[in-house]
Amino acid sequence: MALALLVAGLAASFFHLGHPERAWRSAAMWRTSWLSREVIVLPAFMGVVFLYGATHWLDWHPVLVTLPGGLPVDPSVILGVAGTLLAFALFLCTAMIYACLKFLGEWHSPLTVINYILLGGASGFTLAAAFAAVTAPELVSFLAGWAAIITLLGLFSRSASLVRNARLKPKSTLQTAIGISNRRIVQKTQGFMGGSFNTREFFHGQPVLVVRGVKWFFMLAVFPLPLLLLLAGIHGGSIALGAAFVVQYLGLLAERWFFFAQANHPQNLYYQAIA
Protein backbone atom coordinates (compact mmCIF):
# COMPACT_ATOMS: atom_id res chain seq x y z
CA MET A 1 0.00 0.00 0.00
CA ALA A 2 2.68 2.48 1.05
CA LEU A 3 4.69 1.29 -1.86
CA ALA A 4 1.87 1.87 -4.32
CA LEU A 5 1.51 5.43 -3.11
CA LEU A 6 5.20 6.01 -3.32
CA VAL A 7 5.35 4.61 -6.81
CA ALA A 8 2.49 6.86 -7.79
CA GLY A 9 4.32 9.82 -6.29
CA LEU A 10 7.47 8.94 -8.09
CA ALA A 11 5.64 8.55 -11.36
CA ALA A 12 3.94 11.89 -10.93
CA SER A 13 7.19 13.66 -10.21
CA PHE A 14 8.66 11.88 -13.18
CA PHE A 15 6.16 13.22 -15.58
CA HIS A 16 6.27 16.72 -14.43
CA LEU A 17 9.88 16.65 -15.57
CA GLY A 18 10.82 17.92 -18.96
CA HIS A 19 13.00 14.94 -19.50
CA PRO A 20 11.88 11.92 -17.47
CA GLU A 21 14.33 9.70 -19.30
CA ARG A 22 17.17 11.62 -17.71
CA ALA A 23 15.75 11.45 -14.21
CA TRP A 24 18.56 9.18 -13.09
CA ARG A 25 20.90 12.13 -13.35
CA SER A 26 19.05 13.90 -10.63
CA ALA A 27 20.84 12.06 -7.86
CA ALA A 28 24.11 13.60 -8.86
CA MET A 29 24.14 16.70 -6.72
CA TRP A 30 23.24 15.30 -3.29
CA ARG A 31 25.91 17.41 -1.73
CA THR A 32 24.08 20.65 -2.48
CA SER A 33 20.63 19.94 -3.71
CA TRP A 34 17.73 18.92 -1.48
CA LEU A 35 15.93 17.78 -4.57
CA SER A 36 18.81 15.49 -5.30
CA ARG A 37 18.72 14.25 -1.73
CA GLU A 38 15.04 13.61 -2.00
CA VAL A 39 15.66 11.69 -5.14
CA ILE A 40 18.08 9.48 -3.26
CA VAL A 41 16.01 9.08 -0.13
CA LEU A 42 12.82 8.26 -1.96
CA PRO A 43 14.01 5.06 -3.61
CA ALA A 44 15.91 4.15 -0.47
CA PHE A 45 12.74 4.52 1.49
CA MET A 46 10.86 2.56 -1.12
CA GLY A 47 13.43 -0.16 -0.91
CA VAL A 48 13.18 -0.35 2.85
CA VAL A 49 9.42 -0.39 2.76
CA PHE A 50 9.58 -3.11 0.19
CA LEU A 51 11.95 -5.16 2.34
CA TYR A 52 9.89 -4.48 5.44
CA GLY A 53 6.83 -5.68 3.65
CA ALA A 54 8.74 -8.67 2.35
CA THR A 55 9.93 -9.74 5.78
CA HIS A 56 6.36 -9.69 7.03
CA TRP A 57 5.09 -11.38 3.95
CA LEU A 58 7.64 -14.11 4.16
CA ASP A 59 7.33 -14.16 7.93
CA TRP A 60 11.10 -14.00 8.19
CA HIS A 61 12.01 -13.08 11.76
CA PRO A 62 15.45 -14.38 12.62
CA VAL A 63 16.58 -12.73 15.85
CA LEU A 64 19.76 -10.90 15.07
CA VAL A 65 20.56 -9.26 18.33
CA THR A 66 18.86 -9.04 21.64
CA LEU A 67 18.94 -5.68 23.18
CA PRO A 68 20.00 -5.29 26.79
CA GLY A 69 16.37 -4.93 27.79
CA GLY A 70 15.69 -8.30 26.28
CA LEU A 71 14.01 -7.05 23.25
CA PRO A 72 14.68 -9.24 20.29
CA VAL A 73 15.77 -7.42 17.22
CA ASP A 74 14.90 -9.01 13.95
CA PRO A 75 15.37 -7.58 10.43
CA SER A 76 11.83 -6.26 10.31
CA VAL A 77 12.48 -4.17 13.38
CA ILE A 78 15.66 -2.79 11.89
CA LEU A 79 13.90 -2.16 8.64
CA GLY A 80 11.01 -0.59 10.48
CA VAL A 81 13.27 1.80 12.35
CA ALA A 82 15.21 2.54 9.20
CA GLY A 83 11.97 3.10 7.33
CA THR A 84 10.73 5.47 9.97
CA LEU A 85 13.95 7.41 9.86
CA LEU A 86 13.90 7.48 6.08
CA ALA A 87 10.30 8.60 6.13
CA PHE A 88 11.37 11.49 8.29
CA ALA A 89 14.31 12.12 6.01
CA LEU A 90 12.03 12.08 3.00
CA PHE A 91 9.69 14.59 4.60
CA LEU A 92 12.68 16.65 5.56
CA CYS A 93 14.16 16.60 2.05
CA THR A 94 10.89 17.42 0.41
CA ALA A 95 10.23 20.19 2.86
CA MET A 96 13.72 21.54 2.53
CA ILE A 97 13.33 21.73 -1.24
CA TYR A 98 10.98 24.56 -0.44
CA ALA A 99 12.27 25.78 2.87
CA CYS A 100 15.79 26.27 1.60
CA LEU A 101 14.75 28.95 -0.88
CA LYS A 102 15.62 31.83 1.34
CA PHE A 103 14.02 34.57 -0.68
CA LEU A 104 10.70 32.76 -0.64
CA GLY A 105 9.75 34.15 2.74
CA GLU A 106 6.55 32.11 2.96
CA TRP A 107 8.53 28.91 2.64
CA HIS A 108 11.83 29.81 4.21
CA SER A 109 10.99 28.79 7.77
CA PRO A 110 11.31 25.77 10.07
CA LEU A 111 7.53 25.80 10.10
CA THR A 112 7.61 24.56 6.51
CA VAL A 113 9.51 21.50 7.61
CA ILE A 114 7.37 20.98 10.67
CA ASN A 115 4.22 21.36 8.65
CA TYR A 116 5.47 18.91 6.14
CA ILE A 117 6.24 16.32 8.74
CA LEU A 118 3.08 16.89 10.74
CA LEU A 119 0.72 17.06 7.81
CA GLY A 120 2.43 14.15 6.16
CA GLY A 121 2.33 12.24 9.42
CA ALA A 122 -1.26 13.13 10.09
CA SER A 123 -2.48 11.96 6.75
CA GLY A 124 -0.30 8.89 7.02
CA PHE A 125 -1.80 7.93 10.33
CA THR A 126 -5.29 8.73 9.14
CA LEU A 127 -4.80 6.48 6.19
CA ALA A 128 -3.25 3.84 8.38
CA ALA A 129 -6.19 4.08 10.74
CA ALA A 130 -8.64 3.73 7.90
CA PHE A 131 -6.65 0.83 6.53
CA ALA A 132 -6.46 -0.79 9.93
CA ALA A 133 -10.20 -0.45 10.38
CA VAL A 134 -10.47 -3.01 7.63
CA THR A 135 -7.37 -5.16 8.19
CA ALA A 136 -6.33 -4.85 11.82
CA PRO A 137 -9.06 -3.34 13.99
CA GLU A 138 -6.94 -3.74 17.14
CA LEU A 139 -4.62 -0.97 15.91
CA VAL A 140 -7.38 1.47 14.99
CA SER A 141 -7.66 3.40 18.18
CA PHE A 142 -3.90 3.67 18.49
CA LEU A 143 -3.51 4.90 14.96
CA ALA A 144 -6.58 7.12 14.95
CA GLY A 145 -5.50 8.59 18.26
CA TRP A 146 -2.13 9.49 16.90
CA ALA A 147 -3.69 10.73 13.73
CA ALA A 148 -5.86 13.06 15.76
CA ILE A 149 -2.96 14.25 17.88
CA ILE A 150 -0.75 14.92 14.92
CA THR A 151 -3.59 16.62 13.06
CA LEU A 152 -4.08 18.85 16.07
CA LEU A 153 -0.38 19.66 16.17
CA GLY A 154 -0.53 20.30 12.44
CA LEU A 155 -3.37 22.69 13.02
CA PHE A 156 -1.21 24.66 15.40
CA SER A 157 1.87 24.69 13.23
CA ARG A 158 0.01 25.40 9.99
CA SER A 159 -1.92 28.21 11.67
CA ALA A 160 1.32 29.52 13.03
CA SER A 161 2.79 29.62 9.55
CA LEU A 162 -0.33 31.33 8.22
CA VAL A 163 -0.06 33.95 10.91
CA ARG A 164 3.64 34.31 10.25
CA ASN A 165 3.17 34.63 6.54
CA ALA A 166 0.40 37.15 6.93
CA ARG A 167 2.79 39.34 8.89
CA LEU A 168 5.64 38.75 6.53
CA LYS A 169 7.01 41.86 4.94
CA PRO A 170 8.71 41.00 1.67
CA LYS A 171 12.36 41.84 1.76
CA SER A 172 12.42 42.56 -1.92
CA THR A 173 10.43 45.40 -3.36
CA LEU A 174 10.19 47.00 -6.76
CA GLN A 175 12.68 49.47 -5.40
CA THR A 176 15.32 46.86 -4.69
CA ALA A 177 14.36 44.90 -7.78
CA ILE A 178 15.30 47.67 -10.17
CA GLY A 179 17.42 49.75 -7.85
CA ILE A 180 15.37 52.93 -7.92
CA SER A 181 14.27 54.45 -4.65
CA ASN A 182 11.14 56.36 -5.68
CA ARG A 183 8.06 55.39 -3.67
CA ARG A 184 5.82 55.12 -6.67
CA ILE A 185 6.99 52.65 -9.29
CA VAL A 186 4.60 50.89 -11.63
CA GLN A 187 5.58 48.29 -14.14
CA LYS A 188 4.01 49.01 -17.51
CA THR A 189 5.25 46.07 -19.49
CA GLN A 190 7.40 43.01 -19.14
CA GLY A 191 8.32 43.65 -22.76
CA PHE A 192 6.23 40.84 -24.17
CA MET A 193 2.50 40.74 -24.54
CA GLY A 194 1.78 37.07 -25.09
CA GLY A 195 3.21 36.02 -21.73
CA SER A 196 6.37 34.08 -21.04
CA PHE A 197 7.57 31.17 -18.96
CA ASN A 198 7.95 33.51 -16.01
CA THR A 199 4.38 34.69 -16.19
CA ARG A 200 2.97 31.20 -16.59
CA GLU A 201 5.03 29.28 -14.04
CA PHE A 202 4.81 31.69 -11.16
CA PHE A 203 1.33 33.10 -11.42
CA HIS A 204 -1.80 31.10 -10.65
CA GLY A 205 -3.94 33.68 -12.35
CA GLN A 206 -6.71 33.28 -9.75
CA PRO A 207 -8.46 36.17 -8.07
CA VAL A 208 -7.84 36.86 -4.39
CA LEU A 209 -11.27 35.52 -3.50
CA VAL A 210 -10.44 32.10 -4.85
CA VAL A 211 -7.18 32.05 -2.95
CA ARG A 212 -8.92 32.99 0.25
CA GLY A 213 -11.62 30.39 -0.41
CA VAL A 214 -9.02 27.71 -0.89
CA LYS A 215 -7.40 28.72 2.37
CA TRP A 216 -10.62 28.32 4.34
CA PHE A 217 -11.39 25.10 2.59
CA PHE A 218 -8.12 23.46 3.47
CA MET A 219 -8.13 24.83 7.00
CA LEU A 220 -11.45 23.02 7.46
CA ALA A 221 -10.73 19.96 5.41
CA VAL A 222 -7.30 19.22 6.78
CA PHE A 223 -7.92 19.82 10.44
CA PRO A 224 -11.34 20.06 12.17
CA LEU A 225 -13.29 17.84 9.78
CA PRO A 226 -10.85 14.91 9.85
CA LEU A 227 -10.51 15.41 13.59
CA LEU A 228 -14.22 15.01 14.08
CA LEU A 229 -14.32 12.07 11.73
CA LEU A 230 -11.35 10.49 13.45
CA LEU A 231 -12.99 10.84 16.82
CA ALA A 232 -16.16 9.43 15.38
CA GLY A 233 -14.31 6.52 13.90
CA ILE A 234 -11.85 5.92 16.69
CA HIS A 235 -13.66 2.79 17.69
CA GLY A 236 -13.54 1.16 14.35
CA GLY A 237 -15.94 3.19 12.24
CA SER A 238 -14.24 2.39 8.99
CA ILE A 239 -16.51 4.65 6.95
CA ALA A 240 -15.78 7.64 9.14
CA LEU A 241 -12.09 6.88 9.04
CA GLY A 242 -12.17 6.44 5.29
CA ALA A 243 -14.02 9.73 5.02
CA ALA A 244 -11.48 11.34 7.33
CA PHE A 245 -8.74 10.27 5.00
CA VAL A 246 -10.50 11.39 1.84
CA VAL A 247 -11.45 14.77 3.30
CA GLN A 248 -8.00 15.32 4.67
CA TYR A 249 -6.40 14.25 1.43
CA LEU A 250 -8.48 16.67 -0.60
CA GLY A 251 -7.72 19.33 1.97
CA LEU A 252 -4.04 18.65 1.60
CA LEU A 253 -4.25 19.00 -2.17
CA ALA A 254 -5.82 22.39 -1.60
CA GLU A 255 -3.15 23.15 0.98
CA ARG A 256 -0.46 22.34 -1.58
CA TRP A 257 -2.05 24.64 -4.13
CA PHE A 258 -2.34 27.37 -1.55
CA PHE A 259 1.22 26.81 -0.46
CA PHE A 260 2.36 27.64 -3.99
CA ALA A 261 -0.18 30.36 -4.54
CA GLN A 262 0.89 32.09 -1.37
CA ALA A 263 4.54 31.99 -2.29
CA ASN A 264 5.32 35.53 -3.19
CA HIS A 265 8.26 34.97 -5.42
CA PRO A 266 10.51 37.99 -5.78
CA GLN A 267 10.76 37.27 -9.49
CA ASN A 268 7.11 38.31 -9.68
CA LEU A 269 8.20 41.87 -9.13
CA TYR A 270 9.54 41.81 -12.65
CA TYR A 271 6.46 40.29 -14.18
CA GLN A 272 3.58 42.40 -12.99
CA ALA A 273 2.35 43.42 -16.39
CA ILE A 274 1.92 41.15 -19.34
CA ALA A 275 1.73 44.02 -21.71
Binding site: S26, A28, L35, I97, L101, K171, I180, R184, V186, Q190
Partner: protein
Amino acid sequence: MTQLALVIDLNVCVGCHACVTSCKEWNTSGSAGPMVDQNPYGADPTGTFFNRVQTFEVGEFPNTETVHFPKSCLHCEDPPCVPVCPTGASYKRPEDGIVLVDYDKCIGCKYCSWACPYGARELDEQQRVMKKCTLCVDRIHDMSMSPDDRLPACVKACPTSARLFGDIHDPASAVSLAIRESGGYPLMPEWGTHPANHYLPRRKTRIKIHADELERADNPLKVDGLLPRPARSEPTLDDVTTW
Protein backbone atom coordinates in the same frame (compact mmCIF):
# COMPACT_ATOMS: atom_id res chain seq x y z
CA MET B 1 39.61 35.10 -10.96
CA THR B 2 37.59 36.33 -13.86
CA GLN B 3 33.95 37.24 -13.56
CA LEU B 4 32.48 38.27 -16.87
CA ALA B 5 29.36 40.40 -16.74
CA LEU B 6 27.16 42.94 -18.42
CA VAL B 7 26.82 46.44 -17.08
CA ILE B 8 23.65 48.12 -18.26
CA ASP B 9 23.44 51.86 -18.37
CA LEU B 10 19.88 52.94 -17.62
CA ASN B 11 20.96 56.48 -18.28
CA VAL B 12 21.03 55.85 -22.02
CA CYS B 13 18.85 52.80 -22.60
CA VAL B 14 15.94 53.90 -24.77
CA GLY B 15 14.13 50.58 -24.63
CA CYS B 16 14.59 49.75 -28.28
CA HIS B 17 14.66 45.96 -27.84
CA ALA B 18 17.66 45.56 -30.15
CA CYS B 19 19.36 43.50 -27.46
CA VAL B 20 16.27 41.34 -27.21
CA THR B 21 15.94 40.21 -30.78
CA SER B 22 19.64 40.15 -31.59
CA CYS B 23 20.05 37.79 -28.65
CA LYS B 24 17.25 35.62 -29.93
CA GLU B 25 18.64 35.67 -33.42
CA TRP B 26 22.16 34.72 -32.46
CA ASN B 27 21.19 32.08 -29.99
CA THR B 28 18.33 30.38 -31.78
CA SER B 29 20.59 29.32 -34.62
CA GLY B 30 23.52 28.66 -32.34
CA SER B 31 24.56 26.22 -29.72
CA ALA B 32 21.95 27.46 -27.23
CA GLY B 33 19.16 27.03 -29.72
CA PRO B 34 16.71 26.58 -31.08
CA MET B 35 14.62 28.88 -28.94
CA VAL B 36 11.03 27.97 -29.49
CA ASP B 37 8.17 30.28 -30.43
CA GLN B 38 4.69 29.01 -29.74
CA ASN B 39 1.73 30.37 -31.67
CA PRO B 40 4.13 32.47 -33.70
CA TYR B 41 1.27 33.57 -35.93
CA GLY B 42 -1.64 33.06 -33.58
CA ALA B 43 -3.16 34.32 -30.34
CA ASP B 44 -0.83 35.13 -27.45
CA PRO B 45 2.43 34.39 -29.23
CA THR B 46 5.09 33.41 -26.75
CA GLY B 47 8.58 32.10 -26.89
CA THR B 48 11.90 31.63 -25.24
CA PHE B 49 13.98 34.77 -24.89
CA PHE B 50 17.14 35.19 -22.85
CA ASN B 51 16.80 38.89 -22.52
CA ARG B 52 13.74 41.06 -22.14
CA VAL B 53 13.30 44.79 -21.86
CA GLN B 54 10.71 45.87 -19.35
CA THR B 55 9.27 49.30 -18.75
CA PHE B 56 8.54 51.01 -15.45
CA GLU B 57 6.97 54.35 -14.69
CA VAL B 58 8.54 56.03 -11.72
CA GLY B 59 6.88 58.95 -9.94
CA GLU B 60 3.77 60.87 -10.73
CA PHE B 61 2.87 63.22 -13.54
CA PRO B 62 4.50 65.57 -14.33
CA ASN B 63 7.52 64.29 -12.43
CA THR B 64 7.51 60.99 -14.21
CA GLU B 65 10.52 59.00 -15.24
CA THR B 66 10.03 56.24 -17.76
CA VAL B 67 12.64 53.57 -17.13
CA HIS B 68 13.46 50.95 -19.71
CA PHE B 69 14.94 48.01 -17.95
CA PRO B 70 16.69 45.22 -19.84
CA LYS B 71 17.16 42.04 -17.86
CA SER B 72 18.88 38.77 -18.56
CA CYS B 73 20.63 36.29 -16.26
CA LEU B 74 22.84 38.27 -13.92
CA HIS B 75 25.48 35.55 -13.62
CA CYS B 76 25.42 35.77 -9.84
CA GLU B 77 28.70 35.20 -8.09
CA ASP B 78 26.81 33.19 -5.54
CA PRO B 79 24.08 31.81 -7.75
CA PRO B 80 21.23 30.23 -5.80
CA CYS B 81 20.10 28.48 -8.97
CA VAL B 82 23.19 26.28 -9.12
CA PRO B 83 23.33 24.34 -5.84
CA VAL B 84 19.67 23.39 -6.02
CA CYS B 85 19.99 21.73 -9.37
CA PRO B 86 19.75 17.99 -8.73
CA THR B 87 21.56 16.94 -11.88
CA GLY B 88 24.42 19.36 -11.98
CA ALA B 89 23.08 20.67 -15.28
CA SER B 90 23.27 24.18 -13.87
CA TYR B 91 26.77 25.19 -13.11
CA LYS B 92 29.03 28.18 -12.81
CA ARG B 93 32.19 28.11 -14.84
CA PRO B 94 35.17 28.72 -12.61
CA GLU B 95 37.24 30.13 -15.43
CA ASP B 96 34.99 33.08 -16.29
CA GLY B 97 32.10 33.03 -13.86
CA ILE B 98 29.45 32.35 -16.48
CA VAL B 99 26.46 30.43 -15.19
CA LEU B 100 25.31 27.87 -17.72
CA VAL B 101 22.88 25.04 -18.18
CA ASP B 102 23.99 21.81 -19.77
CA TYR B 103 20.97 20.84 -21.82
CA ASP B 104 22.13 17.25 -22.00
CA LYS B 105 21.91 16.87 -18.26
CA CYS B 106 18.90 19.04 -17.52
CA ILE B 107 15.77 17.12 -16.63
CA GLY B 108 13.53 20.16 -16.86
CA CYS B 109 12.45 20.00 -13.20
CA LYS B 110 12.30 23.83 -13.07
CA TYR B 111 13.71 23.87 -9.56
CA CYS B 112 16.43 26.32 -10.55
CA SER B 113 13.87 28.73 -11.91
CA TRP B 114 12.23 28.75 -8.49
CA ALA B 115 15.59 29.31 -6.95
CA CYS B 116 16.37 32.37 -9.07
CA PRO B 117 14.96 35.52 -7.45
CA TYR B 118 15.34 37.45 -10.70
CA GLY B 119 13.15 35.42 -13.01
CA ALA B 120 16.02 35.04 -15.39
CA ARG B 121 15.49 31.44 -16.41
CA GLU B 122 13.02 30.14 -18.93
CA LEU B 123 12.00 26.60 -19.66
CA ASP B 124 11.99 26.00 -23.37
CA GLU B 125 8.57 24.53 -23.96
CA GLN B 126 9.70 22.51 -26.92
CA GLN B 127 12.97 21.05 -25.74
CA ARG B 128 11.74 20.90 -22.15
CA VAL B 129 15.05 22.05 -20.77
CA MET B 130 15.92 25.14 -18.80
CA LYS B 131 17.49 27.98 -20.77
CA LYS B 132 18.97 31.31 -20.01
CA CYS B 133 21.50 33.86 -21.11
CA THR B 134 24.83 32.20 -21.84
CA LEU B 135 26.67 35.50 -21.93
CA CYS B 136 27.21 34.40 -25.51
CA VAL B 137 29.84 31.97 -24.40
CA ASP B 138 29.98 30.73 -27.98
CA ARG B 139 30.95 34.16 -29.27
CA ILE B 140 33.21 35.63 -26.65
CA HIS B 141 35.65 32.74 -26.61
CA ASP B 142 35.45 31.90 -30.31
CA MET B 143 38.94 32.59 -31.55
CA SER B 144 37.86 32.21 -35.15
CA MET B 145 35.96 35.49 -34.81
CA SER B 146 37.63 38.86 -35.09
CA PRO B 147 38.31 40.45 -31.70
CA ASP B 148 35.65 43.07 -32.36
CA ASP B 149 33.10 40.34 -32.79
CA ARG B 150 34.04 38.50 -29.65
CA LEU B 151 31.31 40.24 -27.72
CA PRO B 152 27.81 39.19 -26.74
CA ALA B 153 25.32 39.68 -29.55
CA CYS B 154 23.25 42.07 -27.47
CA VAL B 155 26.26 44.23 -26.67
CA LYS B 156 27.22 44.50 -30.29
CA ALA B 157 23.68 45.34 -31.31
CA CYS B 158 22.86 47.98 -28.72
CA PRO B 159 22.63 51.30 -30.57
CA THR B 160 23.16 53.37 -27.44
CA SER B 161 26.02 51.21 -26.17
CA ALA B 162 24.05 50.93 -22.98
CA ARG B 163 25.45 47.44 -22.57
CA LEU B 164 29.04 47.13 -21.44
CA PHE B 165 30.74 43.79 -21.23
CA GLY B 166 33.84 42.75 -19.35
CA ASP B 167 35.46 41.33 -16.25
CA ILE B 168 34.18 42.98 -13.10
CA HIS B 169 37.01 41.44 -11.11
CA ASP B 170 39.57 43.29 -13.12
CA PRO B 171 39.66 46.72 -11.50
CA ALA B 172 41.06 48.23 -14.66
CA SER B 173 38.28 46.99 -16.94
CA ALA B 174 35.78 49.37 -18.47
CA VAL B 175 32.98 47.67 -16.58
CA SER B 176 34.70 48.05 -13.22
CA LEU B 177 35.40 51.65 -13.99
CA ALA B 178 31.78 52.27 -14.92
CA ILE B 179 30.56 50.59 -11.75
CA ARG B 180 32.94 52.62 -9.63
CA GLU B 181 32.48 55.96 -11.27
CA SER B 182 28.87 55.92 -12.30
CA GLY B 183 27.39 54.33 -9.23
CA GLY B 184 26.81 50.85 -10.62
CA TYR B 185 24.56 48.72 -8.43
CA PRO B 186 23.35 45.13 -8.25
CA LEU B 187 19.70 44.05 -8.20
CA MET B 188 18.13 42.79 -4.97
CA PRO B 189 21.33 42.97 -2.97
CA GLU B 190 19.37 41.71 0.01
CA TRP B 191 19.76 38.09 -1.00
CA GLY B 192 23.51 37.97 -1.11
CA THR B 193 23.53 36.47 -4.57
CA HIS B 194 26.12 39.02 -5.69
CA PRO B 195 24.90 39.42 -9.23
CA ALA B 196 27.78 39.97 -11.58
CA ASN B 197 25.67 42.15 -13.88
CA HIS B 198 25.32 45.69 -12.64
CA TYR B 199 23.12 48.63 -13.56
CA LEU B 200 24.12 52.25 -13.90
CA PRO B 201 21.56 54.78 -12.69
CA ARG B 202 20.04 57.78 -14.44
CA ARG B 203 22.17 60.89 -14.20
CA LYS B 204 20.92 64.41 -14.83
CA THR B 205 22.64 67.34 -16.44
CA ARG B 206 21.43 70.81 -15.54
CA ILE B 207 22.37 74.31 -16.54
CA LYS B 208 22.60 77.17 -14.11
CA ILE B 209 22.09 80.64 -15.49
CA HIS B 210 22.89 83.78 -13.54
CA ALA B 211 20.78 86.85 -14.02
CA ASP B 212 23.65 88.99 -15.22
CA GLU B 213 24.30 86.56 -18.03
CA LEU B 214 21.09 87.75 -19.61
CA GLU B 215 22.17 91.38 -19.75
CA ARG B 216 25.84 91.63 -20.63
CA ALA B 217 27.63 94.46 -22.31
CA ASP B 218 27.74 92.77 -25.69
CA ASN B 219 23.97 92.44 -25.82
CA PRO B 220 23.05 92.99 -29.47
CA LEU B 221 20.01 94.97 -28.47
CA LYS B 222 22.38 97.76 -27.64
CA VAL B 223 23.64 97.71 -31.21
CA ASP B 224 20.27 97.42 -32.82
CA GLY B 225 19.14 100.41 -30.86
CA LEU B 226 16.07 99.31 -29.11
CA LEU B 227 16.87 102.56 -27.36
CA PRO B 228 16.15 104.88 -30.28
CA ARG B 229 18.86 107.30 -31.22
CA PRO B 230 17.70 110.91 -30.91
CA ALA B 231 17.49 112.78 -34.17
CA ARG B 232 20.50 114.98 -34.92
CA SER B 233 18.29 118.06 -34.72
CA GLU B 234 17.26 117.46 -31.10
CA PRO B 235 18.73 119.98 -28.63
CA THR B 236 22.01 118.97 -26.96
CA LEU B 237 24.55 120.60 -24.70
CA ASP B 238 26.27 121.74 -27.87
CA ASP B 239 23.54 124.28 -28.31
CA VAL B 240 24.15 126.02 -24.97
CA THR B 241 27.77 125.75 -23.97
CA THR B 242 30.93 127.00 -25.54
CA TRP B 243 33.81 125.98 -23.24
